[in-house]
Symmetry: C2
Subunit: 200 residues, 2 copies
DNA sequence: TTGGTAACAGAATTCAAATTGTGTAACCTG
DNA sequence: CAGGTTACACAATTTGAATTCTGTTACCAA
């Protein structure tokens, strides 16, 4: 059960993840987490003030995996902004999709946890929006994107791709054509519906 | 309770709506519907084969209200396609938003009913997509939209506006800036991120 | 003094018994 | 015979007693 040394936050978070996967978020108790670690449940309370705080910490850790993976793409100035936007959005879909596909129980558990803790979700959105804004700002600087407020642009792009990253649409991500649909939306966002002739 | 004449489908549907509003979808029973009409529950079964069928019928009636209201805009060839697209999407948001705001209990009830009966939801989406496709086809004909498959274009536009019509995002519709956010997305869809200079 | 235990009160959850609801059948009535 | 009734089997839901979980306290060990 318990590996050599004393308990630390990371061990507890990992154990919590296991318990979540096995029992689901509704039945996962801190007694279970204690048992998984070979300690009493009171020991867990030495590290986290409440069950809610523990669930929040575990949610944050999970969301931050995506954030960190995407940050690499967002800040890669080797890739031109248009392609970078496409790659970033595709990677966002791909990483969420992979999580949902590879470990459905765990994904379902986190889905519920994150909707409960809307603070963690809101901060995650803020993080992603900041990354997106960086890409768009680069595009504005290099004059491939129209000169508008990058924050407003980021929000609009994020809104327009809701179906490809919001957990409410998890079911859609398993259908074959999703990547192509995201690609079609990207094309519309980058080039618009506008016929070349109507542009000045 | 029971108004003069014999029971018909419409009377039952209206009574069902009342029961749904009062008790919510989880507690609404066909015994309640019978009671509201002053008849036994078995009388309801003379008109609908099952509780599921009754719920489906009431869902369809509800969804068709929006469909019919929007059809008027979609087929109004007086309005130029670009503006028609904007108006149609704005009206879609407005009508759902109004329902959610004016009678939250009933809206919540229908939200659950419709997610249960995914057939009705799927058909509703098909209806809306057909309307949208009509607008886009007009735009392609009059050369204000790029010459692409209107069906694919419709799907992309519908996907990109998911946040403004999908019931999972009902909460967002009450926040002050939504209409402006939809407008920003519309602008992006119509004109794209592209800077005029990069167009041929 | 940090990291652990066991014991506890009150809140939350489970489980089986009792109630209520669904769908059908056999039967009236204009 | 269309449109209603009552009566019924069995499925689903509610209810309340018994159990389990949360968060705290008092205490122990390195």
């Amino acid at each position: 059960m318990r590996a050599g040394g004393p308990l630390d936050a990371e061990m507890i978070l990992s154990a919590t993840e296991d318990v979540l996967r096995r029992h689901g978020p509704a039945k996962a108790t801190v007694v279970d987490v204690g048992r998984a670690l070979g300690v009493s449940h009171a020991a867990v309370y030495k590290h986290f003030p409440s069950k809610t705080a523990l669930r929040e910490a575990v949610s944050r850790r999970w969301l931050n995996q995506d954030r960190d993976a995407l940050a690499a793409i967002a800040s890669d100035s080797e890739i031109p902004p248009r392609q970078r936007l496409r790659s970033w959005l595709a990677a966002l879909l791909a990483s969420k999709r992979a999580k949902a596909h590879d470990d459905p129980e765990l994904f379902a558990a986190y889905r519920i946890l994150v909707t409960e803790n809307s603070d963690a979700a809101a901060e995650h959105v803020t993080d992603l929006l900041r990354q997106l804004q960086g890409i768009l700002a680069d595009g504005v600087t290099s004059a491939v994107f129209r000169d508008a407020d990058p924050a407003a642009l980021a929000l609009a792009v994020f809104s327009a791709t809701t179906r490809f990253h919001h957990p409410a649409h998890t079911g859609d991500w398993q259908t074959p054509g999703v990547e192509d649909e995201l690609d079609a939306v990207c094309t519309l966002l980058i080039d618009g519906l506008g016929h070349p002739d109507v542009h000045p």
